[in-house]
Symmetry: none
Subunit: 196 residues, 4 copies
Amino acid sequence: MPNPPNPARRSQSSRRAILAAAAELCSELGYGQVTIEAIAARAGASKKTIYRWWPSKGAVMLELIDETATITAAHPDTGDLAADLRTQLSAVIDLLTPAHTSPVAGLIAEALNDPDLARDLRDRLIKPRIARFKERMRRAQDAGQLSPEVDLDVALDLLYGPLYHRFVLHLGMPDADHLDVLIAHALRAVDPSTNT
Amino acid sequence: MPNPPNPARRSQSSRRAILAAAAELCSELGYGQVTIEAIAARAGASKKTIYRWWPSKGAVMLELIDETATITAAHPDTGDLAADLRTQLSAVIDLLTPAHTSPVAGLIAEALNDPDLARDLRDRLIKPRIARFKERMRRAQDAGQLSPEVDLDVALDLLYGPLYHRFVLHLGMPDADHLDVLIAHALRAVDPSTNT
Amino acid sequence: MPNPPNPARRSQSSRRAILAAAAELCSELGYGQVTIEAIAARAGASKKTIYRWWPSKGAVMLELIDETATITAAHPDTGDLAADLRTQLSAVIDLLTPAHTSPVAGLIAEALNDPDLARDLRDRLIKPRIARFKERMRRAQDAGQLSPEVDLDVALDLLYGPLYHRFVLHLGMPDADHLDVLIAHALRAVDPSTNT
Amino acid sequence: MPNPPNPARRSQSSRRAILAAAAELCSELGYGQVTIEAIAARAGASKKTIYRWWPSKGAVMLELIDETATITAAHPDTGDLAADLRTQLSAVIDLLTPAHTSPVAGLIAEALNDPDLARDLRDRLIKPRIARFKERMRRAQDAGQLSPEVDLDVALDLLYGPLYHRFVLHLGMPDADHLDVLIAHALRAVDPSTNT
DNA sequence: TTCTAAGCGAGACGGTACGTCTCGTCTTGAT
DNA sequence: ATCAAGACGAGACGTACCGTCTCGCTTAGAA
């Protein structure tokens, strides 16, 4: 009976207004203070319209991030792997900072208590970005910058792990120099031949 | 004048009942369903009593964890560093799993949107455990199991980072074999002389 | 320019389906549960179509009643005035009962908070029926069954008043015997020569 | 589980503020525009507090009327029955007029679509007032102003019926003169010896 | 016979109010 | 003074209808 809505008739202006309102409120008040009510009021949209297209506030934020954070997904390829990784990891740090008003940080926190959202977060945001990370790493292997033996899953854990470890336990993000140290350790761990 | 309460007159039976109720509710219903109301009802305590002694539900859970999870803080010392790390990291994984009913996972999530709680989490739970990790590592250095040059902060990041990275992005915890692989990589990264 | 719709092009099948749906919903769920949404869904009609031809749910119900309840308007004339009045007043009681699913009762309730609807109710439903009541009474006067001096407005009040009084204050409708008593009193009041 | 609230701990100031807000809104905006939301906002009360003590807006209005309209229940006794009835019936007319902002009129309308409210309206408001009407009539009988044979239920119907008949069908309330005519007819109907 | 203007179904939209829920504070009376 | 109990103000939740709107699709006469 409660037919799913027809996406063809969806109002793009409402969608844009809702995502924009969500972004504004998050940066102004912090993720925790964003509510469906406030988004609707700010967007000049009806709550029903939000609930029609998204199951929860987290789903709105996820879509917002998905649109906004495409840049971060793009791994540069200057030929210098370590430098390119530093560039990309710095972008991730910026995405997570400051935690209070970061949609990504808030979404990650919310997903920890919402299995549906967790699945969407992983499948729609994280996995594609992991795929692009691995593409970049394979290009490095093809170009002889990295041993073809390297386990890319381990590389992922060692490169991104420290960031999320520090983020989630509030230990402070590494500065530029320390980021270099971490990258150098990670690359050496997976590829002892690396001479960084 | 809202005088601070007098700890000397605090009812220890209320405190115990509240912490016990919080633990039960968390394992029964999941962290997200635990509310101050429910804790008070289950404990036969007044909400006012809870608010008198703790600023938030997260603070209650933190105190609960602090009492419960002392074991995990203890790093074994069998003389085999890699094996001891595997034991301890496995215990950490168990503490975070299953995310839905784990007080630690819930507390970490909540702290991401509550700066006061984040500070308490870091200073009262995390930092002491990091100190014990470093003590164990220093013992390994003293025993010649590990190079005295090793940067223990980097080691911390490389060993624990992968766990939190996977936990927070819902990528699945490593199984026993993979955990060994990760530990071996981390130790090799910080101490190339390691022959694991 | 919101042109008024062209009645010549009106779909009679839609009109019938809408009125039928309204009648069904009212008897199934009660007047209060009938909504424009539900009528449209049941009738397979668009809400827009309903709003095009009727200003409100009450107006739909009024038109429904106007079509249905023509019988009640017909005052029988067997030559026995008291008996004929009992017949007609019984029909009115049936129209108002049970209050929960009676379109007439619901419409009367709704009109109490909607002046436009109240006017339509009075002018399109009530006044024509009052006129037929007075015609019957005048025939009784012409036939010598009732004094030509009788004030027909007072007679109307005394005959129908008790019904609406009891209806609106939920005092229970008179049974057949009590109805006779009321009619006898009313006729005696307006025409002391009546020997009932 | 959902314990009924404890009346002993009820806040009288909240109760007074809620009833006062309801009265103000009804006279300012009309019964139909009064909402629980608006009452709560005007009263500085929480919606929860209203729902805790009253099942619906109608129940609030009923309690308001019960407190306010005690005067109307009082039948004067000057020794002149017809005059006293005119006084009291005029007061009833005033209570019902203007329909738009009259809490009584609105409540009557609402009760027509809410059986629970209808029962409360009848038992808490109407029946006690009918009892006082009958007391006054019995005093008239005792004083020899009215025949002891008179059926007081019929008298009630004939005296009040015309008012509710006209009210509910929007036929216009009787003016003072016409009210006298109606009272005279009603008294004559129940007591032919009356010489009014 | 094609054109064109309207009514039609469907249903998304901005709103408003609903009745419920949880929060953190406040009040009361017993210990 | 602390406690259990729980009422309170506040305000977000998700739902239901409201009345308006835009969209294609019939479905007429009119050209």
